[in-house]
Symmetry: C2
Subunit: 179 residues, 2 copies
DNA sequence: ACTCCTTATGCATATAGTTGCATAATAGTA
DNA sequence: TACTATTATGCAACTATATGCATAAGGAGT
């Protein structure tokens, strides 16, 4: 339901190809939005059909041709409308917490293993975030960030805080389970 | 993909009706799993057809009749198998962070309003968690919890940590945006 | 009496998202 | 020469989830 607007947001920043949007989902914004490449291409086709985007065929000699999408006035209006709408409820889905309920079927050791793996994953993610934050945002730079950079900084901060919360939880959970 | 196993988990704890499972999603486990009532009823029908559950019709005089589902051996085996499988990647979706990217279309004030509302929502949730934790788990009680109670306690802890992270983020975000 | 809430279940339709497969050019490596 | 990776796009079929509507009995409030 929101993928449409996520894509409009990205193309509003700069005209892009489906491939570039997919790369964004894999890297840059992967930690706060996810979509598969098929979903992106399908959504782009829909957005073109409903005239939210225009598409320009860009031939390339060294690589396969690509399609560059740009946002239309109609698309930008639609996006603007959505931005002002109230936020829908968050729909939490945490498989680890579900598994924790199956006390009788899942041995504690296996469960702890899964918690440790999750914590390690979050630890790696946190490391990447902190690395970027150190390299891209010195204390000096932080004082005169552009509006957009400010917002990107804030976004990463959320990634950091959530990863830290996951790691803290994992530690406490392991302690409690093993006591 | 996992709803199937969430439902099996709940029915494995005790035979239940669709209505009770829906209530769980609204209240008890709503903060770590979500599903609509239609989805639950449809999934129950599927699980019955594939013999993961059995169903018993329970007539009532004062209220509408209900259907009580119980897990089968096959269902429990299937659940056990799933519990041992590696956890799939988490698929983050955070609309607020997407909206933050639309610097040029969303005025700072509107954005701050949305952040404040989110923070208030999380604050209420946090309040509920802390209330339950205080009333149900005194320091004395914590020393001799059953295995299942331990796990429930850990689950709530995650809710608390994540809500706190959201609130901390919101405060910092508001400060940065308004500076 | 009338209306609204809770209990209890479900169908039909639509949209969102996944999985598997397919194509095709170029560049690097074994 | 054969394989593998990157760039670039997409169809078809499926499953998951959402939306809107429907039914029906009892209890509480006005």
């Amino acid at each position: 339901m929101s993928l449409k607007y996520v894509i409009l947001t990205l193309i509003n920043q700069a005209p892009s190809t489906g491939y570039e949007i997919n790369k964004s989902f894999e890297k840059k914004i992967g930690y706060f939005w996810h979509a598969s490449h098929q979903q992106v291409y399908q959504e782009l086709a829909k957005l073109k059909k409903t005239e939210m985007l225009t598409c320009e065929h860009a031939p390339q000699t060294d690589k396969p041709d690509k399609k560059v999408y740009s946002i239309t006035v109609k698309g930008r209006d639609e996006l603007k409308k959505w931005l002002h709408q109230p936020l829908p409820d968050k729909k939490y889905k945490d498989i680890l917490l579900v598994r924790l309920l199956s006390a009788d079927l899942l041995p504690i050791d296996t469960l702890c293993e899964q918690i440790k793996e999750t914590a390690e994953f979050e630890q790696r993610r946190l490391g990447e975030f902190l690395h970027i934050q150190k390299n891209c945002y010195s204390d000096e730079q932080k004082k005169h960030l552009s509006d957009l950079d400010k917002r990107l900084f804030i976004n990463m901060k959320k990634g950091i805080l959530l990863a830290e919360a996951e790691i803290t939880w994992a530690k406490e959970a392991l302690e409690t389970l093993q006591s």
